[in-house]
Symmetry: C2
């Protein structure tokens, strides 16, 4: 955590000064013209808003049809990759403190001897070194709260405009503000028009923004129904505080998810495929009806609700749109995007929906910011749909397979899925459900893998996997990946080989050479790390790295006061046995440099000598500034 760069201010250090003492949420006037209009205050919309709120030069507004923030229910699973993203927003601490941690997942199957169910095993939920963070569970409403607070703390102090309903939009690509949006103000009961450079529909499965750009969800027509309830239980089921996948012999199946606070539990009760004939019956089910189904599954155990906090019957099909913007496959640069449930719908069984939605937004946010800040060309925006659409397709395919396995009859002798098979599939797909299996394909943003062999564990196209290092300036053990904040900057990690002088020389070139990407792409009055943030990792102990001998780029003077930033340089000789060079497959002899995108995905791995390739890469994604 760094702050006070531009001078000390009393009070909450993560609250920007001009906001200090200002607590109420007022509804400011909506301007006629905005840079970005976000439709919908779900997880995708709020991540996008939290990202854009950090740029005072960008005018962002986020609108929501409902009259206020979400209070209850909906999603609750937070994958490791999402916690990593929350860390970049400065929100991981409170999330980890409040949330339930999924440590092991229990599997329950029919007990052939005694009848009822029996535990067949527990598996470690997250493999060792999959992420520095655990898989956690917390109410979606709290996720919204965290993101809303992040927006409030930001330089623009953005807050949502509630009771504003999206109705329609038109696009005129030749206009300064190409998108004209018609809204309905529910408070004034009056129509409202706003013009935007970009509109992002984060307005859910029934997205009106999606319809307005003529995109449709495609996929299965069969709908699957679930009874979902958050209860404070009274039960003798012994794994009530473990995530449990429970299959009964003939009463159906349950996914049980312990929740934050030590008492609350969520049950997903499978109500099967919904037909036109059964729909009315299924949707008439009460919480008591669903709990009765759960009790039949749980035999010989029983469960009752001391309090039912939230209950819903929902049905879902596996569907995905053909593209995530208004122009993909049609020609022209996009001005309207969709994200989250507006693009993909599927079951809740793998806990993926909220996570993939937020990663959609994290992918799009920095790209919109880069274009609006004049750092990148607007062609960059094409990569949103081309990168995220395949991810949604993978998700749908996974969900189809996993849901079928969970719903199938439990006895493999009768064509169903056995407990071992289910557990094995779960473990094998752990990287996927943790959100760290995402790998973007070759594109302007994901470079060829010429030097991948120098860092085999930092795979190009995947998220930069953190590892513990020691900060040279203060000897503190930190996570290298946490140097990256959700601030729209590119990161260039320099891993020193045996010859440290190579890093020093590269830093001097980066600072001085007219062809250096930092010189070329950093605006005149900006700090030297404003566009590309360079971090160096040395193999020597931090005590042996002489601070005074470091190049200026690694001790940059920044901000209004020209203060020195001491947090650019790290040492990989940690107290932990696991060494980053070994854990990430780095070549100790030659070292390398790793280019990481603002959303923390690895764009390329290069040799420390590959200056031309580095310059060329950044030329392809950033505009010259001088």
């Amino acid at each position: 955590m760094q702050y006070y760069l531009n001078g000390f201010h009393p009070g909450d250090p993560v609250m920007s000064p001009s906001r200090a003492g200002h607590a109420g949420i007022l509804r400011p006037d909506l301007p006629d013209e905005v840079d970005v209009l976000i439709v919908g205050c779900g997880p995708a919309g709020l991540v996008l808003a939290a990202q854009l709120a950090g740029f005072p030069s960008i005018t962002t507004r986020i609108i929501e049809r409902k009259p206020g923030p979400l209070q209850l229910g909906q999603a609750d699973g937070i994958a490791c990759r999402t916690v990593e993203m929350f860390e970049a927003f400065g929100l991981a601490d409170q999330l980890l403190n409040e949330a339930y941690w999924v440590n092991e997942t229990a599997f329950w199957h029919p007990d052939p001897a005694a009848g009822g169910i029996t535990r067949t095993g527990r598996v470690q939920d997250t493999a060792d070194d999959l992420s520095e963070f655990p898989h956690v569970i917390v109410n979606q409403a709290r996720i919204h709260d965290y993101l809303l607070r992040s927006m409030q703390r930001s330089q623009t102090h953005l807050s949502p405009e509630y009771s504003l309903d999206f109705r329609a939009l038109t696009v005129d690509p030749t206009a300064d503000y190409p998108v004209t949006v018609t809204l309905h103000d529910e408070l004034a009961d009056a129509p409202l028009t706003i013009r935007a450079r970009y509109v992002v529909g984060c307005d859910g499965a029934r997205s009106k923004v999606r319809k307005s750009i003529g995109r449709e969800l495609h996929g299965t027509t069969a709908n699957h129904a679930w009874g979902v309830m958050d209860i404070l239980p009274l039960t003798d089921f012994p794994d009530i505080r473990f995530k449990s996948a429970i299959q009964s012999a003939d009463a159906g199946n349950i996914l049980l998810i312990p929740r934050e606070g030590g008492y609350l539990v969520r049950l997903y009760v499978d109500l099967g495929e919904v037909t036109e004939a059964s729909r009315t019956v299924v949707h008439a089910m009460t919480a008591e009806d669903v709990l009765a189904v759960a009790n039949r599954v749980l035999q010989p155990y029983s469960i009752e609700a001391a309090e039912t906090v939230w209950f819903s019957i929902y049905e879902v099909a596996q569907r995905v749109t053909d593209a995530f913007d208004d122009t993909a496959g049609r020609g022209g640069d996009p001005h309207v995007f969709i994200a989250g449930d507006a693009c993909h719908t599927h079951s809740a069984k793998a806990g993926q929906g909220m996570n993939v939605s937020m990663q959609d937004a994290f992918n799009l946010g920095w790209k919109l910011a880069a274009v609006l800040r004049g750092l990148s060309d607007q062609t960059l925006l094409h990569t949103y749909s081309s990168e995220r659409h395949p991810i949604a397709q993978e998700l749908i395919a996974f969900d189809r397979e996993w849901s079928a396995m969970m719903a199938s009859a439990p006895d493999p002798a009768h064509g169903g899925v056995g407990s071992e098979e289910l557990e094995q599939y779960y473990v094998e797909h752990g990287r996927f459900t943790a959100g760290v299996a995402t790998r973007y394909r070759l594109s302007p943003l994901t470079d060829s893998d010429a030097a991948q062999s120098l860092a085999t564990g930092l795979e190009i196209g995947t998220r930069f996997h953190s590892a513990p290092v020691t900060r040279v300036a203060d000897g503190r053990q930190v996570e290298l990946g946490h140097a990256a904040r959700a601030d729209g900057r590119w990161r260039l990690y320099l891993f020193a080989g045996q010859d440290e002088e190579e890093v020093f020389e590269l830093c001097r070139w980066l600072t001085e050479a007219p062809t250096s990407p930092i010189v070329r792409h950093t605006p005149q009055r900006a700090d030297i790390d404003d566009v590309i943030d360079v971090r160096a990792v040395f193999q020597r102990s931090h005590d042996d790295v002489e601070l005074g001998a470091l190049p200026r780029l690694l001790l940059p003077r920044k901000g209004r006061l020209g203060l020195t930033d001491y947090e650019k340089t790290f040492s990989a000789v940690t107290k932990l046995a696991r060494d980053i060079y070994a854990a990430r497959g780095l070549d100790r002899t030659t070292g390398c440099m790793v280019v990481v995108r603002p959303d923390q995905y690895i764009s390329t791995v290069l040799r420390l000598q590959d200056r031309d390739e580095l310059a060329e890469f950044f030329d392809s994604v950033l505009l010259p500034q001088r």
Copy 2:
């Protein structure tokens, strides 16, 4: 973190429900009669207030002469033991996130060859396994903020009454509210009288409460002066982000403390003994004068202030009062107490003042609550002065020695202290400065050490030293010591030996026997863990502990809804190599039980069979309730 025990509520889970949506700080009417009146909103006063705010049956008020909360300056060192205490208040996470971590301390001495100063070494600041928390640094004002927030979140939503000046008090031990206090309302410019059962003076070195009970500070008459400044520095000093003890050949010495946020630094510049003759000169020194002294010490390096955030010249003598209440050594039960700087003053060199002050308050808080709630006899209150006075004396003795060493000429050949000697002394006293060397002497609260040999690493009279364990109900690795919250409860840790049945039997006896301390000392309608909170640690893996087979005491049903608390039982087979049984010197064969006070100090260690001794101990500190 446990919550929702009495039902779910939306919003911030650590904010009590009735407070939800209530943001402003109003000045409520001060009642004529209160249980506890705390004078002074420093660290001691606020810890006491935060502790008492958790008891809705106790009427507490805290007053402060100044018009509002502290904004800047004063103390900044937070010892490991203090972070442990903050954890019990639910405040450690944000503190750790914001604060500077003291990882190593650097020592600088005169360079005999080149002149100026040179680094003689860096030492690890906190020994391995001294605490689960680091030694950190953060502005005292932030410490106040955390505690104020804790008060606001509590059931009583306590907030300070500012602009109220303490003037005088009288005590009539026979009255219901024995202490009559005269205040002056600075806002109304009018006197005010309030009656209290207990008054606690946390009103600093010039304490008027202390004077009103006829106590005086005794000690050295020689005052030592320091120039203290928080600056945003521009410097070439390479250890600017390490805590550094810097002794120059003849220009004096500095203690340099990096501060939170990565840029801010505090300098303590030694200005020597103050005589009547020199006082005027010393106090006329400006920030520039003090920085000039610092620059002479730092040669060949230099430092300037891009911004001076806070500056003060202060002088201090090593002094301590003869007792911490109104009756010690005089007869009768105490009604007026003093804590913190009101009791002890000393240099800032060892970073002890704020920490010892807060520990004073943590010692007193639960005792006042126990007496006011009718759980303990008021004779318990005698132990505050008898326990904390010796701690203050130890502190003064340490400070005298350490300050003298720091101030002495650096060359041992000329009678001063050598760099090695200084470093060695610093390391040897690491337990003391971390706040974990405190050991309360034999008293009703600190029992004889008959079974100390069963847990050699959990020394009777010292704080309960946490260790990592696995929670049985959800397989999560947690710190055993973090089960203890600042809630006034006693903790009884049952460490199972090879025969687990002993623990089960003991639990049944604790639940059912008329002579059980839980049966005897828990009020009728209270939860079973309301006075004595039992936690069990088994040596088997958590996967091998059958939840359904646990005794009722380890799965107690609590609260309005009768929900089951699943967080009482732990397993000591952790993924970490260090095992609690080994690390804390526990006897694996026989096990033991450890009684821990509400302020986390170990009262006694007993064999699991020692039921009579257990009952006897609690009879000596708790009143019968039925």
